[in-house]
Symmetry: D2
Subunit: 359 residues, 4 copies
């Protein structure tokens, strides 16, 4: 389950089982769903320079198996099913060598079963397809209310953009992002990232990076300062940390802790007799509540842990020290991660709008 | 409420009401509580260079009003009550000038009441005393199981320590932290921070900073990769973002996103025939589950928004542009924040131990 | 905690601790509270023929220690504190004889502590004062929306009324109930109950009974059939079973299971061109959702288990078979239970209105 | 979702969609599942005198689409999928005549859509197949711990058994139940019920009834008196009220409210030097906590609302008063309801064992 107040979102499905699932209870009645738009987002998640050939072969499609009636939602539990291509591995060829950076060892310490293949069923990126499907539905709902969510790659390894996209229109920003093979809307930086990925691939190593997310037009007054469960910053953070590889998260200016109060806090001013903010270092959230400025977050992802050059490990059965080796591997997951983070941000944003609408 | 699975923790109390409260449902039966140790943590929270005179006068003491019988816990809902010194402001002297960086404006957009004093009752740091009390109880419970939680100031503004405390014994680290007027265990850096605080105080400005937290001896196998609600990284993040001023959070090495996979992922090796990790960039959590290494996190706090030099705002009633001014103010909350973050980390750690004990 | 979707209601407090508490998170902003009305309900709970002298001496009063600002609610966690008169028992005079019908033995099997006095702190009727306070607040909120909740005693032991109060105005029904020393609005039956209570008191025995509850003017369309958490019948049932002594609960006509479909199901008809229901055997809920008819429930309470004639038990320490004896005791709790059930019904009703208001 | 503390159980699926689903998060790792036993329970649910021909044609089979690895559970979210036979109705032939006793009208008042067919997708008995699948899994888990759950029909309409089955061995009781075409283990009464059903079928009317449930060998000390969420009586009640047609629920002796304390409360005595209870009027739960005696409950179901003789309604579009007519219909759902109530009791019992195991 994701952490939510109004919607009840369950993500399920083994990576080699027949399908992955996004189940949503509490989605409002009577919303017309554009299923093809959801499939479009599923496809975006599958694209991205640096992704291995495996992803390219898949072509995810969502099927609503519950909660949709002649194209509109019925407030009954929605079941979104996305078929998997693979099948459970057969045979007794156990994998007993834990992979550093994966859940293998921590899961082994929890479950005490030495076949690491089991843990890879749940602790894999495959389930993020279901997050993208649910998030895409939520984005449609938000867009009908004029709210737009967009995530893009800001950096990959040490290569990052210094462009400020805050004043770019959402359509243009999305177009630029999708134009980039790595989903970085600064096309110069995009090229550098592509080059770096090629370089690192040759070395058999991997890269992480950062994803920036904007929520534009998000209404002020959503959330609360009364509890972690109802604070927008807490719930956003929790859900984003549930995405594999995320190790850090910031709201607003990631340098706020280095600066002084007079530099950081967003002054009020007047423009055409309306109260405006003269900056947005707070990233749209003050005291856990949205303040009417765009929500701006940064998510920090570690390099993917499947490293084709191999990395040292110890076999849990034989006690032998040896390298974990991969025959194929992506260099970075930062580009699909941007699509997944966009989705989970949209789920969280829709949940807050639904929950606070009744006040 | 905090986000938890087993314990049910409610933090309540207006900053000028008669008391603040920590209410805990689900705490195990039969645990002997050292109330004076809790009062010791409450006192630590009140100390700290850079804090204004107001805090010095208070002397928080907790009273268990429920759930304690002859000194041990009864598994009934615990009510911890900490008296406030102040009283609700009297008179109709409304404050209609929202303070940048506070919840004033976002709360106003939610509730539409123009008297900002109301919002300061809930969106204040006063309630963190209740968090410290609950966290202190949880620390005692963890310590009985050999688990130790410690937070300290790593940087204030741009001044930070580069020392690595990971190999220091917990007792020594705690002693050093408490010796420092700003809770920074690197005493050279501590001095520099004190100097910087004095400087910034003279300018009427404020500072933020970072807090490092260690959880030592935390058992492996706690948490799950199946949902945001049960992932240790998600829940830790959510609870820490509920602390006022926190804008960022990292688990493990905060530079992981910049580095390559071979640098970041923590190799397995052997020592005396036991499997060991050769580094701890993951910060003790892989795939949402603890891996047996110390849990290491960094929390990033913005400067406090009450700036004695004044900061531009607009009166919500008169529309007049003017500065919010403070007659007194702290320069930074980073030192008490370390005590609060230690507490909320302990609550989260105890919750996971209790929840996973039944597996 | 009660089971709720929108409000978050925690009931706490030991029966001999300093106070009992009702804590409410999520109550809407800006509601003017009539505290004296709440104290009136607290007083009603303390009255009732058959109650022992202990209750008469108490005079419960609620104090809002958080969440109220100049008389209106602030959406911050509300803390309602009601002082207790008693104090924790002193000395080491353990009670090791479990009382049949109390939680003594079941709690002992859970906690393994042989002093039964501990369990009486939590598993007592004292905490229902806090439920009445929270329920009274919710009743005020519902009444502003034209919704009225009323509970009354329908039977005590084998003596019950056969009057149908469904067409009586709420004010008259409430007046009649409060006129009756046992809260039974059929004054003939009320007299018989009083007589029966006197009889049973002389025999040192105790009585149970039934409480009928009406929720008038409750809006149609609240609740859902999608889950136990969102069904009105499930949540109402759960909360009412949390009241000590409740062993049964019915919604609508308690003979529905005996009758045929054509007798039970509430036909639709027309009156002044409006669709009406020709009966209300469903008790206002169909498929878990309110249907616009009054909600009608019956709660069934066992006799109170503190029996002055004594009842057989076995000492957990000595193994001796002996009777549990009471020097004083009430004959029945059915009258105060009516006030408590009214309160918890109001909490549940308000929760559903708040939760579904956003749809 | 069901109301649970440890397991997280989501029931989903439209009655004419491709499948219904039981999704379970938190089920323990490493449990060997007997899938055929689950299919056996699914079949039992489909049998039962009085059920129409529709049910006989179906032959439900469960498929684990997640959370099972080589036959054992992996603690990852379990997805149990049961294919439906039907398909969504095609065409625009709206049904605008609400059926008394169904969710039609209450759902219409919630959603304002005049096509009643929509609401029948969620508010139907079809989803109870998923409950039976999840409950069957939980029964297997409980049986490994020596705990047995059994439900049977005690009465149908006014015909009920007066036999006491409390001393019958569980295997014999189950054999007798399954032998009866209506799942009533008193074979004389069973015959009378069959005769009554035939009679009522000829009249085109329907019947309700009562289901008795035993949980044998359930450990003492499960549950808590501290909150509705953790009381066993509250949670059991809530989940059972989520079963369509349930209008009443009792724990223990359903006449407790009529009797005196000395008759009702279960004395302690000694047998072979062990403490025993001399009766079980409490039905195994005191103060919300299991006391070690069998848990005994009674569920009360209204007659099914699909009445072939027709029942008066009013068309929501035309305003015309006319009868709702059914071409085919069952007379009663009491027999399959017994299987469903057994399942949901097992889910609740397993949840409490899992949750309290860690204490």
């Amino acid at each position: 389950m994701l952490i939510t107040n109004y919607l009840n979102v369950q993500i399920a499905g083994d990576s080699h089982g027949p399908a992955v699932y996004g189940i949503v209870e509490g989605f409002p009645f009577g919303f017309d769903v554009d299923v093809e738009k959801i499939n479009g987002d599923l496809k975006l998640r599958q694209i991205g320079y640096g992704r291995g050939s495996r992803m390219k072969q898949e072509c995810d499609e969502v099927k609503f198996e519950s909660g949709l009636w002649k194209g509109f939602t019925t407030n009954m539990p929605i079941v979104m099913r996305i078929k998997n291509r693979g099948t459970y591995p057969e045979g007794d060829d156990e994998r007993t060598l834990p992979r550093p950076g994966h859940a293998d060892y921590s899961a082994y310490m929890k479950y005490k079963n030495k076949d690491m293949r089991i843990y890879a069923e749940g602790a894999s990126a495959r389930r993020t397809a279901a997050i993208v499907a649910v998030g895409s539905l939520c984005k449609q709902w938000l867009e009908k209310r004029g709210v737009f969510v967009l995530s893009f790659v800001e950096s990959c390894g040490e290569i990052g953009t210094r462009m400020n996209f805050e004043n770019l229109k959402i359509e243009e920003l999305r177009a630029r992002r999708n134009e980039s093979p790595v989903f970085c809307p600064d096309l110069e930086t995009s090229k550098k990232i592509v080059k770096k990925i090629d370089e690192v691939r040759n070395e058999g190593d991997t890269l992480g990076g950062t994803v920036k997310t904007f929520v534009r037009n998000f209404p002020a007054g959503m959330g609360s300062f009364s509890s972690a469960q109802s604070r927008m910053d807490s719930v956003l953070g929790a859900n984003i940390f549930s995405i594999p590889s995320v190790k850090g998260f910031f709201i607003g200016n990631p340098a706020s802790h280095l600066r002084r109060g007079l530099e950081v806090h967003d002054r009020f001013g007047k423009e055409n007799d309306e109260i405006v903010r003269l900056s947005n270092n707070a990233g749209g959230i003050e005291g856990g509540i949205s303040n009417g400025m765009p929500i701006v977050t940064t998510s920090y992802l570690k390099p993917i842990p499947s490293i084709s050059a191999g990395i040292e490990s110890v076999d849990l059965v034989t006690g032998e020290e040896k390298k974990v080796e991969y025959v194929r591997s992506d260099v970075t997951a930062i580009s699909p991660a941007a699509i997944v983070i966009e989705a989970i941000t949209a789920i969280t944003a829709a949940d807050f709008c639904l929950n606070d609408g009744g006040m």
